[in-house]
Amino acid sequence: MTNALDVVSLRAGYGAINVLWDVSLTAETGKTTVIVGPNGAGKTTLLRAIMGLVPVTAGDIRVNGQSRKGAKTWDTVADGVVMIPEGRMIFPDMSVEDNLMMGAFPRACRAGWKRNKAMVFDFFPRLAERRDQIAGTLSGGEAQMLAIGRGLMEQPRVCLIDEPSLGLAPVVVDEIFRILGQLRADGMTIILVEQNTSRALKIADHVHLMQSGKVVLSERGDAVDLDRLHALYFAHDAA
């Protein structure tokens, strides 16, 4: 069986500044892959590169075995590969509801927008309360919920999620991980970047540790030991 996503010796960065140095990793179809690592390691950059938002200088990205290097972001999205960015990436001048509707923009998702919106409002009742508010005036946590809800509207097959728990109250973080667990059970391929390592490891099938733009450790989720992982973070600091 082919993997949902293969990243092969990927190099990418911002203009003159290269961030990713030969990153390789895979995400198996229907499994949850967690990427952890210290700040500035390049996790967000990796997700952005997969989506075509950051130019790739070398290496390859494959979705279901097919090369997607140089593909346009919107084509990648149309193939069911979706990224949920952290909460700053909402549409600040549009209403909450219009933000969610934008999630259903890919043609394949338009038919189901009503059902999906109901589902999102169900997950985050706060959004339902605020459906007509201009998204730019939402609180930080509300915006984060909106970004997640909007991503779910896209009915992803492969979902890249960047720090979903950022800025959320503990109760909501509980809810997020419950939702992630449910999506995983539904068979979605999830690639999760998360600083809340202990929570993330609980749902991880596979774990990658990134440091300074490289993958330094890849292991099965159940084989990872939290303390050893954190020790490796330190190793980076020392080095």
Binding site: Y14, I17, V36, G37, P38, N39, G40, T44, E86, R88, R126, R130, Q133, T137, L138, S139, G140, G141, E142, Q144, M145, E163, L166, G167, L168, A169, P170, V171, V172, V173, D174, Q195, T197, H230, Y233, F234, D237
Partner: protein, 237 residues
């Protein structure tokens, strides 16, 4: 040093703050927590002058702040960070700090700027463009830096630790604590990470639907059933 009494804020139909009252003593550290949308950021906005309350009293060292513009409050010693980082446009990281120091503290002290860069681990990025070349956590560090550069006596930090991985967070907290002690800062810090709050702040305020529903020592507050129900959930100290 700071007293709020019966502060109200309305956004159209939304009551973001309802009669919020509390006081911060000189040198005190307070953790401010509460569910998303409870009004924490709004509270900071009121104190720093970004949002005008529709009612209430707001005093800083015996002087009412209500009529003062943002920049005067900053010069009085109120420094704040933004939850969504707002680096100064077209400026490098160092220039961000220089502006804050020249105008907020009205001094010119390059040494202290270097000191701040070190504390925040921004030395490598000092000459990077602050709007386009930073990762999220670096942006947050810069937020703290701008506030520190104004030589504040009260520091309002809005989720500056969010997104930091555990080790860096611990290191950052320690450095923040050290700065606080060295400059005898009072500090109000918004954070959703309960252990961090508990470690850093001897007093915690819980805001819910614009009202303060709990105020006290961390272990007492986080055992309050109301707080558990609305905010902490399964997470415990």
């Amino acid at each position: 040093m700071l007293t709020l009494e019966g502060v109200h804020v309305n956004f159209g139909g939304v009551q973001a703050l309802k009669s919020a009252s509390f006081a911060v003593a000189e040198g005190e550290s307070i953790g401010l927590v509460g569910p998303n949308g409870a009004g924490k950021t709004t509270l900071f906005n009121v104190i720093s002058g970004v949002v005008r309350p529709s009612g209430g009293r707001l005093d800083f060292r015996g002087q009412s702040l209500l009529k003062l513009p943002e920049w005067k409050r900053a010069r009085l010693g109120i420094g704040r960070s933004f939850q969504i980082p707002r680096p100064l446009g077209h400026c490098t990281v160092r220039e961000n700090l220089i502006v804050a120091q020249r105008f907020g503290a009205r001094t010119n002290d390059p040494q202290r700027i270097d000191e701040i860069l070190d504390i925040l681990n921004l030395r490598d990025k000092a000459d990077s463009d602050a709007t386009t070349e930073l990762a999220l956590t670096e942006h947050k560090a810069l937020e703290v830096g701008k506030a520190l550069a104004t030589n504040p006596s009260l520091l309002l930090l809005d989720e500056v630790l969010a997104g930091l991985e555990t080790t860096s967070k611990r290191a950052f907290m320690e450095r923040l604590g050290a700065v606080r002690d060295r400059y005898k800062l009072a500090m109000v810090i918004i954070e959703h990470d309960i252990p961090t709050i508990a470690a850093l702040c001897p007093r915690v305020l819980v805001l819910n639907f614009g009202q303060i529903i709990a105020d006290g020592a961390p272990d007492a507050v986080f055992r309050d059933p109301e707080v558990i129900r609305s905010y902490t959930g399964e997470t415990t100290l």
